[in-house]
Amino acid sequence: MQTIRSVTGVLLVLLLVLVGFSMPGTAQQPRSGGTLTYVVTALPPSFDAHRETTFATLHPMKPHYNLLVKFDTHNYPKIVPDLAESWTSSKDGMTWTFKIRQGVKFHDGSVLTSRDIKASFDRIVFPPEGVISIRQAMYQGVKSIETPDPQTVVFRLKWAVPSFLDKLASPFNWMYKAEILARDQHWYERNVMGTGPFKFVEYVRGSRWIARKHDEYFERGKPYLDGYVALFITSRSAMMAALRSGQALIEFRGVSPAERDDLRAALGDRLQVQEGPWQCNLIVAFNTKKKPFDDVRVRRALTLAVDRWAGSRALSQIAFVGPVGGVMRPKSEYALSDTELMKLAGYSRDIQQSRNQARALLREAGVPENFSFTLLNRDVSMPYESVGVYLVDQWRQIGLNAQHFQAETANYLATLRAGTYDAAVDFACDFTDDPDVQLSKFVSSDVSPINYGNYIDRPLDLMYFQQSRTADKATRLQVVHQFEKRLLDQQVYVMYVLWWQRIVPHWRRVQGYTVTTNHYVEPDMAEYWLSE
């Protein structure tokens, strides 16, 4: 009996060892050393994330900084400590107290205190004259920021902001040095000084950004890498060549299915591909000031004509789009279930019935057969062009003749803002599923400058306001869904086409990387290491 137990025990241990070795990511311990070279496909405007919106600022520079709290890139959207080691919220949700880590050092050796956190957030929430804080509107609920002692920061709010922590975790909320800000509020626009895992070494405009390890980083043993080089490559073919040759090991935004397949064919086992949903979407905005788009029946007919489910299957083969959804990211905690979604105009699985309804609505609205209008789109092939062509085809099937006009980005934006278009492919990308962020685009155009539909809808504004101040999650969800129903079904001010799907191929020797739902919270450079 004893022998049987011993043999069983040995076998179990062997089995566990074998399982351990066969599971990806568990077998290898992080290895220190090496330089990670990666591609950034756009050029950063300034070095100051408080005033920028682009990943081109985040990807090369974010590793120089820390946030107060951050999204866990391995378990998005969980929020984990960064400079704050812990936090508490008062019962009424009006006061948030953060305890700051001790001994965190800036790259110049000085020690970070709550004064630096306050100075950074003061700049974001209450920017002084002449300073641009682009996300200032996200923090309207903040009354004051206090520092009772060097290790404590207290945020006092005007009302209980339900997603306050998510907003603080914005990857753009870099913590700067108070002393520098006191001297010159614009210093960070062209200089770098943070507490992050990597120190700035060199920037050659339009070419490369080089950084090396911060030896006194507060997380022991991290970062694993000795340094990194971000290569600015704006041409897709050059980016692909860089990845294929190994001159760059990863690009943190994403590639198209065809590009993924090319890399797979060229690199085989040396390549790993991570895919997942993306917090970006393509929508169609209707110019409600122009006939016949001022008529809700016409807008409804246009959304009814589009077979999103078939489109998802077809377009996901050629473009980085896929998931069908409403205003909230599919499968996120705020999203409608497929059953609920199918009750909204344009989401039915019975496309013939929907198109019959669409034709009837167009007749009722007096829109003639073969009515011509222009669909404004960006002249960016991926994924705008594919989706634009698909829409033109879908509308043709209900007797509408849409002309696909692809404009260069600045011209496209100028046309949208001037309100001289008929219908336009529009888009939104963000770092969080928070409804405050996701819905802000759709409140009345006299409130939101990025609402290009030119409509005023006070009930919609009221719902936005209500959800933004409802602490109870279930009630908030209800209001969000009411908002969604009014926007997409009752008024059809816009129509959602498809959400994006991220495809991030990287050389297998890049370890510690997990694809998240957006390219803003990446790269989490302290976590990455090279296996060889």
């Binding site: 919106t53 490369r208 704006t234 600045a410 934006l413 100028a414 990308c429």
Partner: protein, 317 residues
């Protein structure tokens, strides 16, 4: 001769001034706004107050004539202004890229001239024979194949056969000549081939024309050697149009290699022009266009001087 040089030089100034006015007006006629591209493109909620503050910071809320006067006053002080996109001085933005673009232009010109002159002479001398036909085929192919496409083929060939990709970032020749040439030799070859095709055809046709002149026939009749006739009598006179073509192509290469620079990821002037235009970075566009125009004007000036050197009669006219 000095009066000739002075007259040519003085002509450059009104040309550049006219170009400056034209550029300033044209960039503002094109629809688009840097503030929208920078702040609104991502779809984030940005308040109108922020947008207005940014416009004020960039000076875009001033009347157009006021902006023009500011720019002109800056030009008098040799200050091209600050890039609206990066906040860096325009002169610095340009100087970073100019080194690469100039070197590439020089390399492509050397390659093109080294190929075009012997081939053009060979084709003219052996007119109608197989050598001439071969040169014609090679040069027509050079004209027909876009240099960016040739560049893509080169990259694919190097990657597929040798698993090699030229360096993607620029290293100065003085810092590391090997790395510098490893990056620039491929685009220089791709661009130089097309460039040489143009120059070869021009050399051939110019030389053929000169070879039909009476004084060349006289030289043949005197019994001079072919080399002497070509070198001393024909080539010198045939060089004028060839020099013009080489000069204008050189000026074009400074800012015109937009696609080739993209293919090889070269941080050059062409790429910067495209970026500046797509971002509606007015100050940078103005600086760059002025540079390109100045490039053409200076090259033309140099061509005029070379004309005078090749044919002294030009200076006296």
């Amino acid at each position: 001769m000095n009066r000739y040089i002075l007259a040519r030089f003085m002509l450059m100034l009104p040309t550049l001034l006219a170009v400056a006015v034209l550029i300033f007006v044209l960039v503002r006629v094109v629809p688009g706004d840097i503030v929208a591209v920078r702040l609104v493109l991502g779809g984030s909620y940005v308040t109108p107050k922020v947008i207005e503050a940014e416009r004020a910071r960039l000076g875009l809320n001033k009347p157009i004539w006021n902006q023009f006067v500011d720019w002109m006053l800056g030009m008098i002080r040799l200050d091209l202004g600050t890039s609206m996109w990066s906040g860096e001085p325009v002169a610095r933005e340009i100087s970073i890229r100019l080194q690469l673009s100039l070197q590439l232009a020089v390399m492509a010109t050397v390659i093109a001239t080294a190929v075009a002159l012997p081939l053009g002479i060979l084709a003219a001398v052996h007119r109608g024979r197989w050598v001439d036909n071969l040169v014609q085929v090679v040069s027509v192919a050079g004209l027909a194949v876009p240099s960016f496409w040739l560049g893509i083929l080169m990259i694919l060939f190097l990657l597929s056969v040798f698993q090699y990709l030229p360096p993607l970032t620029f290293t100065s020749f003085w810092a590391d000549p090997k790395a510098n040439l490893a990056q620039l030799i491929w685009p220089a070859l791709a661009v130089g081939y097309r460039y040489s095709a143009v120059a070869t055809r021009m050399t051939r046709s110019a030389l053929l024309e000169v070879l039909r002149e009476d004084y060349v026939r006289t030289a043949w009749a005197k019994g001079l050697a072919q080399g002497v006739i070509l070198r001393r009598h024909a080539l010198r006179n045939a060089l004028m149009p060839v020099v013009t073509v080489i000069g204008l192509e050189f000026a074009f290469l400074i800012g015109g290699l937009v696609v080739t620079e993209q293919v090889f990821n070269l941080n050059g002037i062409g790429k910067l022009i495209v970026d500046a235009i797509s971002q509606r970075d007015y100050t940078l566009i103005q600086g760059l266009m002025l540079l390109v125009a100045a490039g053409y004007v200076v090259v033309n000036f140099v061509i005029d001087l070379v004309y005078a050197w090749i044919d002294p009669r030009v200076a006296y006219q």
